[in-house]
């Protein structure tokens, strides 16, 4: 009854059970680490300029340009099952017609604990524009710094690291100098 086929089958079954049990244990171990680091976020300047949009039906469109400063030490989030962090800065505001918007204007992938202490003074990496043509009559925007922890194996988690204290109003569009 102990054919070679049966032996191979048994060994394979045992090995795969062990591997999946180990992977499950590693995935569960992530829940033991409950670090929730906070940082600070401030908006330096915010300007709106008209521009040309290549993709949209409205060819003339207003674009916002944001200068921001981020300080956050996210290194406590790195443990043995952290593959990388995806950190992103979003703007939340409501348009003139009531549309609620959340737009990511900057992001960064952090792969090592040594790089996780963020001290960034930057400007938006992605186009920041409204669904409508203009930023006229939109509500002031809150800016948030959020992150997504991505494991080697297991569940993806999301959290917020910083938020501006006050909402920042959009200025009127100015002509390009």
């Amino acid at each position: 009854m102990y054919s070679a086929y049966q032996r191979i089958n048994n060994i394979f079954a045992l090995l795969s059970t062990c591997i999946f049990a180990l992977l499950g244990a590693i995935a569960l171990s992530s829940f033991v680490f409950t670090a929730d680091p906070k940082g600070s976020l401030s908006i330096g300047s915010l300007k709106v300029y008209p521009g040309r949009s290549p993709h949209f039906k409205q060819l003339r469109k207003e674009y916002a340009f944001v200068n921001f400063e981020v300080h956050a030490d996210l290194s406590p989030l790195f443990h043995w099952n952290t593959k990388q962090l995806f950190v992103y800065l979003g703007a939340e505001y409501t348009s003139a017609d009531g549309t609620r918007n959340d737009v990511v204007i900057w992001d960064r992938i952090i792969r090592r604990k040594e790089d996780a202490n963020l001290n960034v003074k930057g400007r938006n990496k992605y186009e920041f524009r409204d669904v409508a043509v203009s930023f006229k009559n939109v509500t002031p925007a809150h800016y948030t710094l959020k992150y997504n922890t991505m494991p080697y194996v297991g569940v993806l988690t999301y959290s917020e690291a910083a938020r501006t204290d006050n909402a920042i109003p959009f200025p009127l569009a100015q002509e390009r100098v």
Binding site: Y5, L23, Q84, D102, V103, V104, I109, V155
Partner: protein, 185 residues
């Protein structure tokens, strides 16, 4: 000649029983898959990453677990799998813009009735996905297959290997079928 003799020795009844067993295994697999899809509210609760546009988070062959709860809106940072009409392969990319449009007939108490415009981008791509939307300006809820909740590396590479080398698939299927018929418990 030898193998035919072996078949004869096993008998028709036994062969039929084995065929039935084989069918039961396939049917229960299908049931589990569809049941999981029902619970997760998505047509494919487990997908294999096919492109490198989300590197270094997801590589080709990694396995993703999806859910698509009907009671939740999408938020920025969510990694979604979407399929736009006209494109054959589903794409795994991250949501970078959400716009919850106030539409006519919208009831404040039901966020589900609300139309949502989404823009996505692959972490490893420089530009957003507008070029991939086949003429659409925005992605909408109906295009989205699910939201990535869990991750397991490499396991899905088997299916990629089988797609790239079809001989492997036929060899595996044939081998399994033969074993199921011939093998005696």
């Amino acid at each position: 000649m030898d193998s035919i003799k072996a078949f004869k020795r096993l008998g028709v009844r036994y062969m039929l029983l084995q065929a039935l067993n084989f069918a039961a295994v396939i049917a229960s697999g299908l049931m589990i898959w569809k049941g999981l899809g029902l619970v997760c509210n998505t047509e494919s609760p487990i997908v294999v990453v096919l492109s490198g546009s989300m590197e270094p988070a997801f590589y080709r062959g990694d396995l993703l677990f999806l859910t698509n709860p009907a009671s939740e809106q999408y938020v920025t940072g969510d990694i979604t799998v979407y399929k736009v009409p006209g494109a054959d392969i589903p794409i795994v990319h991250r949501v970078i813009e959400t716009h919850d449009v106030v539409s006519e007939g919208y009831v404040a108490a039901s966020p589900l009735g609300q139309k949502q415009l989404l823009l996505t981008k692959g972490d490893n791509n420089n530009a957003n996905d507008i070029e991939l939307y086949q003429g659409l300006d925005w992605l909408e809820k109906r295009h989205i297959v699910g939201k990535v909740r869990g991750f397991m590396p490499y396991i899905g590479y088997v299916t990629i290997a089988m797609n790239d080398f079809p001989q492997l698939k036929y060899a595996l299927l044939g081998g399994l079928g033969l074993l199921a018929l011939v093998q005696r418990e």
